[in-house]
């Protein structure tokens, strides 16, 4: 647990014009762990992820990944270092087939054998994707699109995977499946995971540590077990 963190963020502030979306945010994610970032709408969760993956430029602060400062790198260079981002809302390439979506995920990979191997891993994880290989991604169901988005991110062989609300708009039965798969990815492939969720119950169940974000500030943090018992948190996010 106490090894050097894979990703550490210190005093990160991000703003959209005059509006501060994230203020002085600091967090650490240990190698091999599942850490969750909780918070309601507009708390700054997605902004934080976008900044970590380089889609947004922070106003101030520092992001260190595997000992290297990646704060001002463009997104494609951050992906190349092994940090993958599954954006919110299942952003698949609707006009491309499932196979093409997966192939795009391996865009920066040059080792063909490795790509083929990763693809088989993903089919083992999500057999549904293999069945739908030639289907246009836009015609998949919500859950399938989420699987595809995760699979596509895995095609880049990341060390670190950031998932932005994977449960959003998905049938309840599939949510459980997807969360099981997230645990599986973490356990069997050793990929460190940062999970952003509104579904706090499930997120705290599979994670080891949690941060709670409110209007851009971290208001609470601790081991997930403790957070689940936290009365304030219970009232706000866990439904009593």
């Amino acid at each position: 647990m106490n090894a050097a963190p894979m990703l550490s963020v210190s005093q990160l502030s991000v703003s959209y014009g005059a509006i501060n979306a994230v203020c002085d945010l600091s967090l650490e994610i240990p190698q091999g762990g599942i850490v969750t970032l909780l918070g309601g709408n507009g708390a700054g969760k997605t902004t934080t992820l976008h900044t970590l993956s380089g889609l947004l430029r922070p106003k101030s602060g520092r992001v260190t990944f595997c000992g290297e400062d990646i704060t001002r790198l463009p997104p494609h260079q951050i992906v190349a270092r092994g940090l993958s981002h599954v954006p919110e809302g299942r952003m698949v390439f609707a006009n491309l087939s499932v196979a093409e979506n997966l192939a795009m995920g391996a865009f920066l990979q040059t080792d063909k054998a490795l790509v083929a191997e990763t693809r088989e891993h993903i089919f083992a994880l999500f057999p549904r994707l293999k069945e739908r290989l030639r289907q246009t991604a836009g015609t998949l169901s919500g859950g399938e699109q989420q699987m595809l988005a995760i699979g596509r991110a895995l095609m880049g062989c990341p060390k670190f995977l950031m998932l932005d609300e994977p449960s959003l708009g998905i049938a309840p039965r599939l949510i459980t499946t997807i969360f099981e798969k997230i645990v599986e990815i973490n356990r069997t492939q050793g990929i460190t995971i940062l999970l952003v969720e509104q579904n706090a119950n499930l997120a705290l169940e599979i994670s080891s540590y949690g941060y709670v974000l409110e209007t851009g500030h971290i208001v609470c943090q601790g081991p997930s077990r403790d957070l689940r018992q936290n009365p304030q948190l219970k009232a706000a996010y866990l439904g009593g």
Binding site: H50, S53, G54, L55, P74, P75, H76, V79, A80, S84, H85, V86, P87, M91, V92, F93, A94, N95, L96, A99, E100, A103, M104, G105, F107, L108, E120, F123, A124, L125, F126, P127, K130, L133, R134, T136, G138, T139, A149, R152, A153, M155, G156, E184
Partner: protein, 335 residues
């Protein structure tokens, strides 16, 4: 635990995007056939009515314009309204080459080969100049999205027009006259075939899937490591190159070019071809370019209603076929 399904190995041909070289044999063949056909038909164009040949060449030029704009607006999803601007850069550059440098390079008694080489060089220079203009406009403005990019490209087109209007050497507001008549059927269709070949090879390659990915979802494309700014810039430069070539062909067809011929309405005409054909659908866009070039000729008696008919056609089409004339695939356009 998920089971690993024991099924046949996936067919690499249809499962993964095809690398560029694997596409080449078939598409090369089409390119060669197209070029040969353009030259052969051109041989007989002397015996065809001159008016028809003129319209046919116009169609060829419009196909080049529409297919190249389709790479930017359709495949890559960057709404540009400046295609006529790039066209004018190519037109003026190519015309300047043949008018000013031509007589000196050709010498006393030039053969047809010398003329053709000169024209080819002029078109290349026109295209490259337009591509350079594309980069110049594209690099700072491609960070903008949607409406904002449309406005910037619109502004660029107008700036270019005003510049040409004020350069006296190039004829200024009176227009640039005395351009030699080099454009014939073979030139227009040769370049048309080359444009279609380049754009479809580009888009159907593994690299080119990035254009469609950028169009479908820019955030997702960035999240998997695509440099979307580079894709947009490449699309912009390639699109501008062919617009410049089309401009050069246009100048050597009309023999006199006028800045007003490359104004905002010209850009709109090309955009209409792309939308009518279906964004990102090359075949549909070609068909639309043909249709929209012939239509005003047929409607010549009521020419002043041309724009009314355009608008009417667009409205009817957007209601009945929002995905474009020839688009039968799912979700090419999301309205």
């Amino acid at each position: 635990m998920a089971e690993i399904p024991q099924s046949r190995a996936p067919n690499p041909k249809s499962d993964t995007p095809v690398p560029v070289w694997r596409l080449l044999p078939r598409q090369h063949l089409a390119l060669a056939l197209g070029l040969v056909a353009a030259v052969v038909i051109s041989r007989f164009s002397g015996s065809i009515d001159a008016y028809l040949v003129d319209v046919a060449i116009g169609i060829g030029i419009n196909v080049i314009l529409a297919v190249s704009l389709n790479l930017v607006n359709g495949h890559t999803g960057q709404f540009s309204l400046g295609h006529a601007g790039f066209m004018s850069v190519g037109a003026y550059l190519a015309a300047a080459c043949t008018v000013f440098a031509g007589p000196r390079l050709l010498g006393a008694a030039p053969g047809p080969l010398a003329h053709n080489l000169l024209f080819f060089g002029a078109l290349l220079i026109g295209g490259l100049g337009a591509a350079f203009a594309g980069l110049l406009v594209g690099i700072p403005s491609l960070r903008l999205k949607g409406d904002y990019l449309a406005l910037v490209t619109l502004g660029f087109g107008e700036i270019i027009r005003v510049i040409f209007q004020n350069v006296e050497v190039l004829g200024g507001a009176l227009g640039f006259n005395g351009v030699p008549a080099y454009t014939d059927f073979a030139w227009a269709y040769g370049w048309g075939v080359l444009t279609i070949f380049t754009v479809s090879c580009l888009v159907n390659s593994t690299y080119g899937r990035g254009f469609i990915a950028t169009h479908d979802n820019e955030i997702a494309a960035q999240s998997i490591g695509l440099d979307t700014t580079r894709y947009k810039t490449v699309a912009f430069a390639v699109g501008a190159f062919f617009a410049g070539v089309a401009g050069g062909l246009f100048a050597h067809l009309k023999l006199s070019i006028d800045p007003r011929g490359f104004d905002f309405t010209r850009s709109i005409e090309i955009v209409v071809m792309v939308i009518l054909g279906g964004m990102g659908n090359t075949l549909g866009v070609i068909l639309a370019a043909v249709l929209l070039t012939i239509l005003p000729e047929i409607l010549r008696p009521v020419a002043e209603y041309r724009m009314v008919l355009y608008s009417l056609l667009l409205i009817i089409l957007m209601i009945t076929r929002p995905q474009g004339l020839l688009n039968f695939r799912f979700g090419k356009t999301r309205l």
